[in-house]
């Protein structure tokens, strides 16, 4: 996907998939409205965002110290901490944990980090069966699809598609009733939860001061995943740290409200090490896999604010571009505004042009609970990649710059624009050459008969 052409074609195609666009519009607006409503009811909401942003910024500026502390405390609580420099290493580590203990049935909580490193495929290749347990991810898995939103994986699907997948997979009678569909998934997964031996989750935030892991879920699948199996593996991006336990509630107040408009997710779980010897249930082993996978490069680069992100998904819902193409058009695990930043940073230059898929309207910035100035960072990313833009574009730009530096050329340009075809009413309907990119979808007004400067010269200057 290195060339803008491919990306443009993919995005153009996505805008015409009415079913997806309608589904995403509906769900995203619902979340935007729910978020706005819940934020309106939260006292001191701007001060909370300020503080959340500041805490996260402070952490990324001082990460080594906090990570070290986190590792020390988590270890003291009985967790085994592993470090993975990249996704392959993380997959290997987890596969080794499974192999050494003979674990064969893994249940997973929804984790974008695990999507990022392709964990399911890697584990299945070693003979471990991996079952997604979040309803949306479960449907993605049985339908051999990909998630298209970091919070709402099947935002692009309607109930008919879910119904067909369920009927095909389980041979059950066809139903489109979301409650029935949910029941089918529950029944199937209950059996899995009784038998599973490995639980894999992401982590919303880790607490440096205490070594605590915080995990938020709505369905209870996350709790099942860290309760039933005898081994729990938590995959934690090195950036997802807050300093103190008392910092957590700031994020808890903002996170669910930003994601879904709920004051709190149904289940916020704080994990302090594995099961204690006299606890009746819970995993006997807790492994924390700390994942770098490019994060330390972001941390030491010019866009490090992006690591403040707590993956709430609010910027996706708020984004008019995302709403009109859905998540798959981005061809990345992380779509939407935050994805347009993260994907080039994590996956390299082939994704550079994602940073251009934005009108910079700033709705994302207003939605972001940690106040990441996403448009500003997108522009910064575009600037870093501008020498890799197609040659023709760079030449045109140079020409344009020259014209704008050269008043007679600027005026000549204005005059030349009058030769564009006029439909008789002052509109160009079919622009030539490059202008087709405009007139294929919109009309272009013909330049005014007299530019402002000519009105000024002839009338306004001397009039008083």
């Amino acid at each position: 996907m290195s060339r803008t052409g491919d990306l443009r074609a993919r995005i153009a195609a996505a805008t015409t998939d009415r079913r997806v666009v309608n589904a995403v519009h509906l769900a995203a607006w619902r979340k935007v409205d729910a978020r706005a409503e819940s934020f309106a009811k939260l006292p001191h909401v701007e001060a909370l965002r300020d503080k959340a942003a500041q805490i996260r910024q402070h952490v990324i500026e001082n990460l080594p110290r906090y990570l070290e502390c986190f590792v020390e405390r988590a270890t003291a609580l009985g967790a085994q901490v592993h470090f993975a420099p990249d996704g392959a290493a993380a997959c290997r580590t987890i596969a080794q944990i499974a192999a050494a203990r003979g674990l064969s049935l893994a249940v997973k909580g929804k984790s974008m980090t695990s999507e990022e490193i392709g964990l399911n495929v890697a584990l299945e290749a070693t003979g471990v069966r991996v079952v997604e347990t979040d309803l949306g991810e479960f449907i993605v898995q049985i339908d051999h699809d990909r998630p298209s939103h970091i919070i709402t994986p099947i935002i692009h699907k309607d109930r008919r598609q879910v119904a067909r997948a369920m009927a095909r997979e389980f041979g059950c009678p066809y139903t489109e009733d979301p409650a029935e569909l949910t029941k089918i998934a529950r029944r199937h997964l209950r059996d899995i939860f009784r038998r599973c031996d490995l639980g894999i989750t992401g982590v919303n935030l880790g607490v440096a001061e205490t070594g605590t892991l915080c995990l938020i879920t709505n369905e209870g699948n996350g709790r099942m995943t860290i309760t039933r199996p005898r081994v729990h593996v938590a995959l934690l991006g090195i950036d997802k740290i807050v300093p103190r336990l008392t910092d957590l509630p700031i994020f808890l107040k903002l996170l669910a409200r930003s994601s879904t408009g709920q004051p709190m997710g149904a289940y916020t779980t704080l994990i302090n090490g594995p099961k204690r010897p006299d606890d009746p249930d819970g995993p006997g082993e807790l492994h924390v896999v700390l994942l770098d996978n490019g994060r330390s490069d972001i941390l030491t680069g010019p866009l490090r604010e992006v690591l403040r992100c707590v993956r709430c998904g609010a910027c996706l819902n708020a984004c008019p571009a995302y709403r009109n193409i859905g998540g798959h058009a981005y061809s990345s695990v992380y779509p939407g505004p935050i994805g347009s930043l993260l994907s080039p940073l994590l996956y390299g230059h082939a994704y550079d042009d994602l940073a251009r898929v934005s009108s910079l309207c700033g709705a994302c910035r207003l939605a972001c609970p940690v106040q990441i100035d996403i448009p500003e960072l997108l522009v910064r990313l575009r600037a870093l990649a501008c020498t890799r833009q197609p040659r023709a574009k760079r030449v045109l730009l140079r020409l344009w710059q020259w014209a704008m530096q050269t008043p007679w050329a600027y005026r000549l340009g204005q005059r030349l624009m009058r030769f564009l075809p006029d439909d008789g009413g002052g509109w160009t309907r079919h622009g030539p050459g490059l202008l087709r990119a405009w007139t294929d979808t919109r009309d272009l007004p013909c330049p005014a008969v007299r530019s402002f400067r000519s009105i000024w010269e002839n009338e306004l200057r001397d009039e008083h």
């Binding site: 503080k51 805490i55 470090f83 309803l135 949306g136 309607d158 605590t212 309760t227 008392t246």
Partner: protein, 235 residues
């Protein structure tokens, strides 16, 4: 800006070990330049950001928020809580009920025993064990909670020698006994308290029933956790 008397953390400044993590942290420390305008760690206290006024009537706020989150709240007294519990169990036509007394909660051993008796006379069997068959087959679980948060209508359940994590999770109905004195106002209050006490291995902040909106954004309750949460609020 930080008013912490000392740096809040006491991370060792020199990497002691030689594993890949230590090497990584060591390298990261070398690569991380000090920010030109360092961002200070904000004050630990969140008192100025509270959502619940200290004077607010906590039981009423809790009941309202928990109800909004989808719980069924019953305001009961010492005199009638048993009858209320029996009614709930009766209305569920539940046969097997897990009753899990836990120190530090309102469900004391005595209350649990009284409840077990009451249920038995009503023809239900109350058990207090945590094998898989019980957890997956019982119709409801009755537990205490260690705290509740008025701001969000949240119940706090923690693991411990007498408390299975599965009890408030696996059965389809969760019935929680809460004493009004256990309610704190704000989420901040709960974490302030938590920061000053030892922490169990597993702490669950439970806000309403298990839910999903994955299919077309339509809210469905009871996905993997309980679809129904009753709170007996003892006044």
């Amino acid at each position: 800006m930080s008013t912490d008397p000392q740096p809040p953390l006491t991370a060792a400044e020199t990497p002691g070990g030689t594993g890949p993590l230590d090497a990584f942290l060591h390298a990261l420390r070398r690569r991380t330049e000090a920010a030109p305008h360092p961002t200070p760690l904000p004050d630990r206290s969140n008192a100025a950001l509270r959502a619940v006024r200290p004077a607010e009537e906590l039981a009423a706020r809790f009941a309202a928020e928990a109800t909004a989150a989808g719980c069924v709240v019953h305001r009961v007294t010492e005199a009638n809580w048993l009858a209320a519990a029996k009614d709930i169990v009766g209305s569920l036509s539940a046969r097997l009920v897990l009753v899990q007394p836990q120190p530090g909660t309102a469900l004391t051993a005595e209350r649990a025993a009284a409840l077990a008796d009451a249920l038995a006379t009503a023809g239900r069997s109350a058990v207090s064990k945590w094998d898989d068959d019980t957890l997956f087959n019982c119709d409801a679980a009755v537990t205490g909670v260690v705290a509740a948060i008025a701001e969000t209508g949240t119940l706090v359940c923690v693991s411990g020698p007498a408390a299975a994590r599965g009890a408030s999770l696996i059965p389809p109905v969760h019935i929680a006994l809460l004493d009004r004195t256990q309610i704190v106002g704000d989420l901040f209050d709960y974490f302030d308290r938590l920061a000053n006490t030892g922490s169990p291995a597993n702490i669950n902040l439970i806000t309403g029933p298990s839910k999903t909106a994955d299919i077309e954004g339509i809210l469905i309750t009871g996905v993997h956790g309980p679809g129904v949460v009753h709170v007996l609020l003892l006044e």
